[in-house]
């Protein structure tokens, strides 16, 4: 290895391990975020109290009623005897949802007609409402799949707003308990990597500008390329280690395993990190103080990753123009690929589009930073 | 309006065995000092000597850990509230608002001291500092020297009797520095006491009195002339063809001497009863070093300071 590059890399490692703050940001913050997201803001909604108003009292309607007792998320509530009673229970908050089975349901099903079911949901808590809606929809879908030969598909209708999200279905297949941790961990890895990789790279360069040591590097024969490699290699190594730590923690704390190939997962993580480091470097070529680097990174990459990458909020539910913006966020591709690898156990064949896009991001951001850095170092 | 009480006191500030530590590190070590009323008093010392700490204690921003401190006849920190209106403090970074104009900066400085009818004083100060033509200009758009003068004007608007300036000439070009000193001297003549800190020894030569601060201690204080005269050495300036070669010859010839090499000359600081000029020249010529010219030069404050530090180091082992 060239002496300059070795000097650069060794120096970066020394600085990272010397400063308790940097090391803390790199190691503790990811763990903290993991635990926070994993436990505290789990989006699972338990104990949805559902009452069934069974006007039919047929074997079919009883089967549906029993389903609510089997699944953990529901706790059976009182059984209202009239629509007015059901409404009152919802208003008082004793029930989160009420399912109305009309009389003649069993008969109509038997006769091959499509009988209607009415679902009343307390919409005041959106999270509970949408979860209940999603579960019940998924439940009937599941039911209809399993019982297709036996039953006709019942149509859950009546609630006019009842349009279940399309992507609910795959989740039902591969996450049978519908646990949000399984869904969140891949996104969490992406989010944590964005915070640590982008910020630590950007801050480490900008700190050199602030302290005046950048001037020393500029005056030395160190080339822009060596500078960039020297700045990326240490943070790449540290971030990769972090990913492994999060995966291990995810496995043991939350029981989220990896269904697919670990080497493929590490491979795509590498590409994602490369683009994160590139963005970090690019930010550092635009600003001169650590404060503005922090601000810019938060606005340009951290918040968009949180909101627009599909980490928490499904992209398909976003308005089209916003969906277009999500294509600019590397985490979007990474999370898709990660979920495919971790949850679905997909192979190399299904993640190559994401790999290509991430590689493109990396080349673009690193190339542009190198260019900008070179230009800055030789002002006009 | 604050009442101008001319107490006629001899000293604007008196420090008695003042000590101050930060996180266990002593910044000021049992320092006693008397700052005479009126004129410019310079605190001289390298970065980290404790000059800023001292100034901040004098204006009540910091409280001493030990010892007693009296400013304008009032004991601090007890009497701070009473004496604060008579103090002005100019921090190292000229605390100006870059996005406000000269007038607005002055108005703000006056209003935080509760002044209402300050416009006459403001005009007077702008006139004095030569800033009147630029009064609508934003502070950010001023040159370094103009910023410095504006900062001074802002500290003067409430008629302080004691002004504390922390490295006011840092990074200011010599021309502006000369103008700034003219202003300071003018203020000193109006019975105002100005205490300034500076790392530059040559700047201290311009002050009425100086105090050398080194590692939180007072090494020496007095007027520049008196300090120079108190030095036990004389300096011989020698221009020779090969200055570097002359160094070992001179140190062999007069081991007690202090040698300093400059770009085109050598200074030999000898004790008052040391050898005469012609003896030194002869010694060099004998060693084959041609002396182009030589002559006594006036010692500078730096020479005295240097000796003091070395003596101090010798005492401490």
């Amino acid at each position: 290895m060239k002496l300059e590059l070795r000097a650069m890399i060794r120096k970066e490692f020394r600085q990272v391990f010397r400063d308790p703050h940097t090391l803390g940001i790199l190691l503790l913050v990811p763990m903290l975020l993991l635990v926070l997201f994993g436990y505290a803001i789990s989006m699972d909604v338990d104990n949805i109290v559902v009452g069934v108003l069974d006007n039919d009292k047929s074997p079919e309607s009883r089967r549906i009623t029993e389903l609510f007792q089997v699944l953990d998320v529901f706790s059976p509530g009182e059984s209202p005897t009239s629509p007015a009673e059901a409404e009152e229970a919802l208003v008082d908050g004793r029930l989160n949802a009420a399912l109305v089975i009309p009389s003649g349901f069993g008969r109509d099903l038997e006769a091959g007609k499509s009988p209607s079911l009415q679902l009343l949901i307390d919409g005041s808590n959106v999270l509970v409402a949408s979860t209940a809606q999603g579960y019940i929809d998924a439940m009937f879908f599941d039911l209809s799949l399993r019982l297709d030969t036996e039953w006709r598909v019942p149509t859950a209708a009546g609630a006019a707003t009842f349009t279940p999200p399309i992507d609910f279905r795959p989740r039902t297949w591969f996450n049978p308990e519908l646990r949000s941790t399984v869904f969140l961990i891949p996104g969490l890895i992406a989010f944590i990597m964005v915070i640590t990789a982008v910020l630590s790279t950007a801050l480490s360069v900008v700190r050199e500008k602030e302290k005046g040591t950048m001037e020393m590097l500029d005056a030395s024969p160190l080339s822009s390329t060596t500078l960039i490699i020297g700045k990326t290699v240490p943070f790449m190594v540290i971030s990769m280690l972090e990913t492994v730590l999060i995966l291990i923690a995810g496995r043991f704390l939350f029981g989220v395993g990896i269904m697919g190939s670990i080497s493929l997962l590490l491979g795509i993580t590498f590409l994602f990190l490369l683009s994160c480091l590139g963005i970090g470097l690019l930010i550092s070529t635009v600003v001169d103080t650590q404060q503005s680097a922090f601000l810019l990174a938060t606005i340009v990459i951290v918040l968009p990753t949180l909101i627009l990458s599909g980490f928490i909020y499904p992209i398909r539910n976003m308005p089209l123009p916003v969906q277009a913006v999500t294509f600019l966020i590397p985490a979007r591709y990474f999370i898709t690929a990660e979920r495919a690898l971790m949850i679905r156990g997909a192979g190399a064949g299904s993640i190559w589009p994401q790999s290509v896009v991430l590689l493109g991001f990396s080349i673009f951001t690193l190339g542009l930073s190198s260019l900008r850095l070179g230009r800055r170092r030789r002002k006009r | 309006m604050p009442v101008f009480k001319s107490t006629g006191a001899e000293y604007a500030a008196v420090l008695d065995s003042v000590g101050k530590s930060f996180q266990g590190t002593a910044a000021i070590k049992s320092l006693s000092l008397k700052i005479p009323t009126a004129g410019v008093f310079a605190l001289v010392g390298p970065d980290g000597a404790g000059k800023s700490t001292l100034l901040q204690m004098l204006c009540g921003l910091l409280t001493p850990d030990s010892g007693s401190l009296e400013v304008l006849g009032v004991s601090l920190p007890r009497g701070l509230a009473g004496v604060r209106p008579q103090l002005g403090y100019l921090s190292q970074h000229f605390s100006l608002y870059g996005d406000l104009s000269i007038d607005e900066n002055m108005a703000f400085a006056a209003e935080i001291y509760g002044l209402k009818n300050y416009s006459d004083k403001r005009d007077e100060l702008l006139e004095m500092t030569g800033l009147t033509p630029f009064r609508k200009r934003l502070a950010d758009k001023l040159s370094g020297g103009m910023k410095q003068k504006l900062a001074l004007a802002c500290t003067l608007v409430h008629n302080p009797r004691l002004i504390l300036l922390d490295e006011p000439t840092n990074g200011v070009d010599p021309v502006s520095r000369r103008e700034f000193w003219k202003l300071l001297r003018g203020l000193g003549e109006q019975n105002i006491t100005l205490v300034m800190s500076t790392p530059y020894m040559d700047e201290a030569e311009r002050a009425d009195s100086v105090a050398f601060i080194h590692e939180g201690k007072l090494l020496l204080t007095g007027s520049p002339g008196a300090i120079r005269r108190s030095w036990d050495r004389k300096i011989l300036e020698i221009f020779c063809a090969r200055n570097r070669a002359a160094m070992p010859v001179l140190s062999r010839f007069y081991p007690k001497g202090e040698l300093q090499i400059f770009g085109d000359r050598v200074h030999l600081a000898m004790l008052q009863d040391g050898p005469e000029e012609d003896e030194v020249v002869r010694c060099l010529e004998d060693a084959g070093i041609r002396v182009k010219s030589s002559g006594p030069v006036r010692p500078r404050l730096e020479n005295v300071f240097l000796s003091m530090i070395q003596k101090e180091a010798a005492v401490n082992g």
Binding site: R6, T213, A219, L222, R378, K379 | V175, I309
Partner: protein, 317 residues
């Protein structure tokens, strides 16, 4: 000797409408201590940045150690050492780690092994400090560490930007001794500073103002040339009285006030006796003066040149 290691010909650098370096030409001899002086904004930093290959000139040419600076800046960087203002070191790395890093940056083999580094530490008197964090070193020590880092690869030219600002006099003197040693061994040293006291240590000086060179020469030679008449320092109780009467005296070229003294530059050929006679006539026999002939400082020279060039400028307008 006599060989030019740096040659600058009609170098120009503009930023928009502002010409930072305006048609500057000079040359530097190998092994000399060259001072580039001027106020902040005079263009010296821009000039140095161009010579270090950090900035591209708009016009003109420059060479360093025979290499065309404009065509081959990367080659130039290998042959220079650069010590920036405030000694930019990594404060969170130890002295040894800093030296290893900067040595590695320049591909210096001497700093790869601990033995080589300890030799360098010894040469700048830092033995025993190897494992101290650079941020914990006092000013004078970190200054020498910065020097060690800048010269570990034996550069042909060493650039120093305000190398001794804020450092105590003992460290300063030691630093300049080290620099003179380096120069003796053949390293060319270029010092940029707005602090004119630092320039006294140089053999050759170029004075910049508004992007142009306004004077050049050796410090002493320059003083003699620019300040033609002798300068006297008058101190004593009568000195302050003189301020009001000196203005109209034809034998006084210029005077300036210091703390407890007054500096008078007279027309050529005056001696202290002559000055004393004239002053007694002016002030009356009762006044008490002490008169001493002094060497003007480079700051005096600088101020004189700026005054001259500005008054000429006004005449043209």
């Amino acid at each position: 000797m006599g060989e030019h290691i740096i040659e600058v010909n009609s170098l120009v650098k503009r930023f928009g409408d502002f010409t930072a370096v305006d048609n500057v030409s000079f040359s530097v001899e190998r092994g000399s201590l060259f001072g580039l002086l001027g106020a902040n904004g005079a263009g010296k930093t821009t000039l140095i940045r161009m010579l270090c290959g950090l900035m591209i000139a708009d016009a003109g040419s420059a060479s360093l150690a025979g290499i065309d600076v404009l065509k081959n800046p990367e080659e130039v960087k290998k042959r220079i050492g650069y010590m920036s203002q405030r000694f930019s070191l990594y404060r969170d790395l130890t002295a040894d780690e800093n030296l290893e890093f900067f040595g590695g940056l320049y591909g210096s083999r001497d700093t790869v092994g601990a033995a080589g580094r300890s030799r360098i530490f010894d040469s700048v008197g830092l033995t025993g400090m190897e494992n101290t964090l650079a941020g914990d070193l006092p000013g004078g020590i970190s200054q020498r560490l910065a020097l060690a880092c800048a010269v570990s690869h034996n550069p042909a030219v060493l650039f120093l930007d305000e190398p001794t600002a804020g450092v105590d006099p003992v460290s300063r003197r030691r630093f300049w001794d080290l620099i003179h040693e380096r120069a003796e061994e053949g390293t060319t040293v270029v010092v940029t500073t707005h602090y004119l006291d630092e320039a006294e240590y140089c053999n050759d000086i170029v004075l910049m103002h508004s992007g142009r060179i306004v004077a050049d020469g050796g410090p002493d030679e320059m003083k003699r040339r620019i300040i033609s008449g002798p300068v006297f320092e008058i101190s004593g109780s009568g000195a302050s009285f003189l301020e009001s009467v000196l203005e109209d005296e034809s034998w006084v070229v210029e005077f300036s006030l210091f703390g407890d003294s007054i500096h008078i530059q007279t027309v050529e050929g005056m001696d202290s006796e002559g000055v004393k006679t004239r002053l007694l006539t002016l002030a009356g026999k009762t006044q008490d003066f002490s008169i001493e002939r002094i060497t003007p400082s480079l700051e005096d020279v600088f101020l004189r040149i700026i005054d001259q060039s500005e008054s000429e400028g006004e005449e043209i307008i």
